[in-house]
Symmetry: C2
Subunit: 430 residues, 2 copies
């Protein structure tokens, strides 16, 4: 029977919104926002979309009007009563009341701030200027909207059966991956794929597939909305924006050198347990570990995000050993451009020597490689990064020069301050 | 929104019926039934299910109670008003009123006759005894029910996502086939896959995929219900049961030798045009063509169903030439265990030399090969054949000894009468 009401209701939508909830974002955004809420309420920053895959001319593919409609729709959203209840009542990382009532009260009133959109050379310049506490919330929806609008631009030329077969192939591909991952003992893997997902519905399907296919080896999703709806763990800790802003705010080189540790000192005042995961690569992992205060070796783990994963993992193990810590009591989170082959070789390399977990991102939620002519549905490398704080430019070096961000002269200054020597370039797929 | 009514309605079903309409059968059944209605109303025959794939122990896989429920359900069906209207009003093979009002009036009152079901050595012995006009209608639903119950027996152990991925893989596989077939110029292909389909819903999907993917190269479906619902041509002509029954009814060897031509003489009184397709292999193609009366060379085409298709096609072409007929004005219908590779090589071999069309059956609607462990979802070779007529055993020789049917001494007699020499065995996949 036709459900007339549903059909009529669906036709009332003016657009098909990509982001429909304030919680359709990554969990670490909430953790970081609470830290900003407590300590950096007056800091103003600018976030900016950076399309590293310049050959994909987004402004040619995506209609500016549609992009505005989607961005405007997100600005109309606010935390619902049920979402707020979930944040207040749910256990995160084994802890109740992760978020203080004042922060949630603020979040309930929060709307996303305005955006600036311009076209230049076939690309969109999309920036978000305002209080850090507010603009930080643009990162995930902005990326998800652009990525999904690009998917839609390709999909709209496909027939009904072509579409069905497209998703059939994507499902079959993911299930093959799940079957391979199932063979790995003591696997621990989570979905980190919100920002560059093919689409919301596809991410939701992928999460459910991992849930059914991997059982306990699937430890959760970074997507709060999906975690809430599917009754999964919401996972994630912190991101480069914290040291990038702290670094930009540092008055001199001496303070700049301390900034990454300052971030973590603040962090451990707010969080504990498995949330104590160091992201060491903002200004180069090697220098970070060399200068790291000894209290950091008591943290639960390290995230390896831009270095070759074997190399990065070995570096972490060596550092823990030098600190007199048994790496088998510590955790490495791998999260850079992972797919099954990488997961398998990392797993084979580190098994028994250290605890480790995987944050599987874009190649989980957007592996449509080869499914459209000319790679038109292949995932691509787009990020939304903080580019200035209180008027000062921010810098990210990372362990991979291909991921470096910031004005050239500032990059040189940061390299000098953090004593970064030659780095090897790794191709950035996603 | 949940459609409560639909959900409650669905829960009222005691079973999930596999065959839900009298028209969920092959079109040739109706054509043959009208011929029987006109000429053979007193003939009584027995049809019997024959599982050529004895390694598949159907009685172990399929619950006898469920099988009875499904068979009983078909017996509760009768032609609906809309179905009757379609038969009366639709154009078949370019002709209106293909079915005479008396026949349709009879069909409206018709219910499938009783069946006999027994278990023996892990197999079901399923037979249908009664007037030919009635029992002939059991062939397709009986096969479709057994084949789908076997699918269900395997599917019921699969999880929700395993199921979704299973169909995803099947869809992707079919679409790959469609893409390959699209490259063939002047292709003419129809769905002949009702009887051994994976399931009704899957056949319906396959038909729609061919419709969208192949456009005009897809010429129709043998399934009347799907043809009606999807507004497609219903296709098919006649089957081995006609010469088999006529042969069994022949009082002596001389009449037996004439029986296959007797069938076709009757047929051309009832039908014309593209329905005049000779099925020559019941007692061996070579002998059939050697003794064929010259009026048969005026028929539109020949169906190649059990001989190697290249060999069978060449034989038909040679025969037409010997009759002074240009093969380019004639049609060959290939219909034996086809898949894309065979279609492509037949197409390459005969292009420009003769008109030809493909009846794509089980490997269209049931190609789940390799999708379950131990080939548990692979199609298998099961048929429902007439085994006796008015008490006399029927015989089928065909061009492939692996497909021969009948008591051994009768097979020998038929081989003598029809002068059948050594035949080469071809593996029967489906």
């Amino acid at each position: 029977m036709v459900d007339i009401a549903t059909r009529v209701y669906n036709h009332k939508w003016k657009i098909d919104p990509i982001v429909r909830s304030m919680l359709d974002t990554d969990f670490y955004k909430l953790l970081m926002a609470q830290m900003i809420f407590r300590r950096q309420r007056d800091t103003r920053v600018t976030f900016s979309i950076i399309n590293r895959s310049q050959h994909i001319r987004l402004a040619d593919l995506i209609d500016a009007g549609e992009l505005r409609e989607q961005l405007d729709h997100v600005r109309s959203l606010s935390l619902t009563r049920g979402e707020s209840t979930w944040l207040r009542g749910n256990m995160f990382y084994g802890r109740r009341q992760m978020f203080e009532p004042e922060f949630i009260a603020w979040l309930e009133t929060f709307r996303l701030p305005p955006y600036e959109l311009e076209e230049k050379d076939g690309q969109y310049e999309l920036t978000f200027e305002g209080p850090w506490l507010e603009t930080t919330f643009w990162e995930i929806p902005a990326l998800a909207i652009i990525t999904e609008l690009r998917s839609r631009a390709v999909l709209k030329h496909m027939g009904r059966f072509e579409l069905q077969v497209l998703y059939a192939r994507a499902m079959a591909r993911l299930w093959e991956k799940v079957k391979e991952l199932k063979t790995l003992p003591d696997l621990s893997i989570a979905d980190f794929g919100t920002r560059r997902r093919h689409s919301f519905l596809w991410q939701d399907w992928c999460v459910q597939a991992l849930q059914e296919g991997l059982g306990k080896a699937f430890t959760g999703t970074s997507n709060c909305l999906i975690a809430m709806r599917r009754e999964l763990e919401a996972v994630g800790t912190n991101a480069h924006e914290l040291p990038m802003v702290y670094g930009a705010l540092a008055p001199d080189d001496a303070e700049l050198l301390k900034a990454p540790y300052h971030v973590l000192a603040d962090w451990q005042e707010d969080y504990d347990g498995n949330l104590l995961v160091i992201l060491p690569d903002t200004y180069g992992t090697t220098g970070f570990l060399k200068n790291a205060p000894s209290w950091l070796s008591r943290w639960t783990g390290i995230r390896v995000d831009s270095k070759d994963p074997i190399e990065g993992g070995e570096e972490a193990i060596a550092w823990w050993k030098a600190q007199g810590t048994d790496p088998r009591d510590r955790l490495i989170v791998f999260s850079d451009g992972l797919d099954v082959d990488a997961i398998k070789s990392i797993h084979a390399h580190f098994s028994g020597r250290v605890r480790f977990a995987f944050g599987w991102g874009t190649l989980l939620t957007n592996d449509f490689r080869g499914f459209a002519p000319d790679g038109l549905l292949d995932p691509f490398s787009i990020v939304c990064k903080v580019v200035s704080a209180n008027g000062a430019p921010t810098v990210k070096l990372s362990d991979n020069p291909a991921k470096a961000l910031g004005p050239p002269e500032e990059i040189e200054r940061y390299k000098r301050v953090f004593d970064v020597s030659e780095q090897s370039v790794r191709e950035v797929v996603v």
